[in-house]
Amino acid sequence: MDIGAQLLQAGNLMLTGMVGVFLFLSILIFAMRLLANFAAQLKEAESSTSRQKIAKTASSQGVPQAHIAAISAAVATYRKNN
């Protein structure tokens, strides 16, 4: 193959190669932005779930009203008698 034809091929390869690299990495930039949004949404969902869990745990750890009433009644009776 003569050098002129080789140069033409090399020129084509240069153009195709650079377009290919830019295209691939540009798609990757787009994918990374999607990834960042997805990760942010995931984090938000996780934090809201954990907030709900904390609230639920707090309310479940709270003493039932019936117990409070019984304890208050017992304390009042004890104070009256002593």
Partner: protein, 376 residues
């Protein structure tokens, strides 16, 4: 008397040839650069020693049946060693800086122009009598511009195995010379005001993003450039092992023992290609010259791309970080930081330069995949 003559003929003294002695001197030169000057010692020590071993007369270490022959055949001819090294590099790479600022990928892409321009230059060299580079040879030589040793060795072993020794030596020599080659180009293409530009602090990157990143890169490579999956796939595997946090033992092995063992044999195998008949040619001089051109062009286009991005971006971009797009991790990023500090002692660019630096690794792997797909 006949016994004495036979004994004499079995000695090295009787069998030395000038080209072999010359290559042993090259091997000693590489050892000197590695030990006395500290240039890429992890690779130049085994490569230099391999060059000495392969040129020993009579022993035939690099001939079929010899140790170096088998090491080359098993590790490099098959393409396994560069891929194992790439897995280790993936396990040592932190993509946070790139994930925090994805547009730095464009700098990694721009710096790959060094590869494709050199491909053109290698064919141009054919006008000089004595040079007969094919398109495959030119592609293998051009990948030196990617400033990534394993990628250069992988591509050369596939496209031009007879040029592998010269290409590997050129790639690693220029990577060691990054602190000398890059600063003059960076300073010539930027003003002092541009070099003083401070960049905003990078955002925090979550663990989820770090885990998903290698999977996303692999997914895109599978879809758009399967020819690059050997390199990108191993790189992503190494990075996933590092980031997922559940296989710390494997990650540590890949980062230490495996990469060290592979480096020893990779160096020896590359050294075995420094045989006199393959290395002492005019083509080697051409490869060394083209390698320097490739590095220079890659650095220049990276800086120019960063300058352009700085004009159109909402957030300021210091054009120096573009020079890190040539890969050569982390040396190129350190050079950017050093040149930046010379202009503004309070401006630390290291983390900002790590983005284009690791983008350069991906960019050169993608460029290698494109060359393999089109020329291989």
């Amino acid at each position: 008397m006949e016994g004495l003559i036979n004994l004499w003929q079995a000695t090295g003294l009787a069998n030395f040839t000038w080209p072999a002695l010359c290559m042993m001197a090259v091997g000693c030169g590489l050892l000197y650069l590695a030990i006395a000057k500290g240039f890429e010692p992890l690779l130049l020590v085994p490569i230099g020693f391999g060059a000495i071993l392969t040129n020993i007369p009579v022993a035939g270490l690099g001939d079929p049946g010899g140790l170096l022959y088998y090491v080359y055949y098993i590790g490099i001819d098959s393409g396994v060693f560069p891929l194992l090294i790439f897995m280790g590099v993936g396990a040592m790479t932190d993509f946070s800086a790139l994930i925090a600022n994805p547009k730095m990928l464009l700098l990694g892409a721009a710096a790959q122009f060094g590869i494709f321009a050199t491909l053109f230059g290698a064919i141009l060299l054919n006008f000089i009598p004595g040079f007969e580079f094919t398109l495959q040879d030119a592609s293998a030589i051009a990948i030196i511009g990617g400033a990534d040793g394993p990628t250069a060795i992988f591509l050369a072993s596939k496209l031009a195995p007879e040029l592998l020794g010269a290409i590997a030596v050129a790639a690693y020599s220029y990577m060691a010379l990054v602190p000398i080659i890059q600063p003059p180009i960076m300073k010539a293409l930027t003003t002092k005001e541009e070099r003083q530009i401070a960049m905003p602090q990078l955002r925090h990157v979550s663990k989820t993003e770090k885990i998903l990143f290698p999977l996303a890169v692999l997914g895109l490579t599978i879809l758009f450039l399967p020819a690059a999956t050997p390199l990108v796939g191993m790189f992503c595997l190494g990075n996933l092992m590092k980031e997922c946090g559940v296989v710390d033992r494997l990650s540590k092995t890949v980062q230490n023992e495996l990469i060290n063992i592979t480096t020893i044999f990779l160096g020896l195998a590359v050294g075995s290609k420094l045989a006199a008949d393959q290395f002492l040619t005019i083509e080697t001089l051409g490869i060394l010259a083209l390698g320097a051109v490739a590095f220079g062009i890659g650095t220049g286009t990276g800086v120019l791309m960063a300058k352009t991005m700085n004009r159109f971006s909402n957030t300021p971009i210091n054009p120096l970080v573009g020079a890190a797009g040539v890969s050569a991790v982390p040396m190129a990023a350190r050079v950017v930081n050093k040149v930046g500090l010379e202009s503004n002692p309070h401006n630390f660019l290291l983390m900002h330069a790590m983005g284009p630096n690791v983008a350069g690794v991906l960019g050169s792997a993608v460029a290698a995949g494109i060359l393999l797909a089109l020329v291989g």
